[in-house]
Amino acid sequence: MTPSRRDFIKTAAATVLALILPGSFNPVRAKTKAPVAGNATFSKNNIAHTLTAKRWAMAVDLTKCTADCTDCIVACHTLHNVPNFGNPKDEIKWIWQEPFSAVFPGEQHAYSGERLRKLAPPVFCNHCENPPCVRVCPTGATFQRSDGIVMMDYHRCIGCRLCMAACPYGARSMNYRNPRPFIDRINPDFPTRAKGVVEKCNFCEERIAKGLLPACVEACRQKALTFGDVEDTRSEIRLLLEKRFSLRRRAHLGTGPQIYYLL
């Protein structure tokens, strides 16, 4: 039996709909809202004392920061359960030090002063305005918050390491093994990571949510680190950037890094 033209079009339309509809529920980004009993609603408000900003940024005062001090690194790594695998190949780092010539290649020359040559600035995730890691992440595990923080959702990380290849700062580290046995002292207030997950600095978003400054800023005895909202013209970091000369790491790449090094 040959279908009529009308029946053919009806069947075709139904087929197209059946094919399109399931596709609109993207399984990776799909959110399964729990059916909530009664008249419960999900609160739109946050905890009252959360620090908020239009764009979080950090300034590192290199006249105060000394090469032999690792206070910020120790504070960060103990707080965030960063493992120590004991070899540089597997090293996990949220904050680490690099010689000035490596942090700012091209800014050093044969006659640079001793002060610059001796510097070992702390380097972090730059929480870029235009983050290449977010662009390449296939699962949306790395994303940019509206306040500029480039964050990792470890639940979604599949360990493909595209972000590590994309990041021009080497700010991301991969857990090639289960990190738990390699954490000296586990901080029960922060999760560890699992094997096969990439991690990096999160600008202490868990502390900001509680109204606290990042752990590195608090740990720095030289007060070399300033954290604040660069979009706020009256913020401390903005005043520093107004007064002082600052460098950003590889800003010519167009990533818009948000760590400012004051010289």
Binding site: K31, P35, A37, S43, Y154, I186, A194
Partner: protein
Amino acid sequence: MKYQKWSLIIPGIVIFIIGATFPFWYGKGKASAPPALELNTPEIDQLAKKQCVEDTAFMRANHMKLLQTWRDEAVREGKRVYTAKGGRTFEKSLTGNCLVCHSNKENFCDRCHDYVDAKPTCFDCHIVPGEVKK
């Protein structure tokens, strides 16, 4: 020749049917006891009104969905407060909220998960309070 072929095929079919239906008749009549969950942690005993975030029936059926919703909203949207039925508010936190009352993971979470052979990966990363000392 034909007779020899069938002498192999029929026992094969019989063995397959026995194997495929094994789970259905093996445990028949033997009811395995559902897990007994312990709700008598010191933290729960102190509560004036012993109620979880939502009703027990809801929590039993939907705690995994609720936790996943909490996870996505807290991590990705920064919404960290959950308002339950009746207006009570809770921080969306597994270790900082759920496991504070249910401080007996082995006798609460694990018993049911083992019974239904669910293998949640929550605790690969999230730390069970009490498992490590501060």
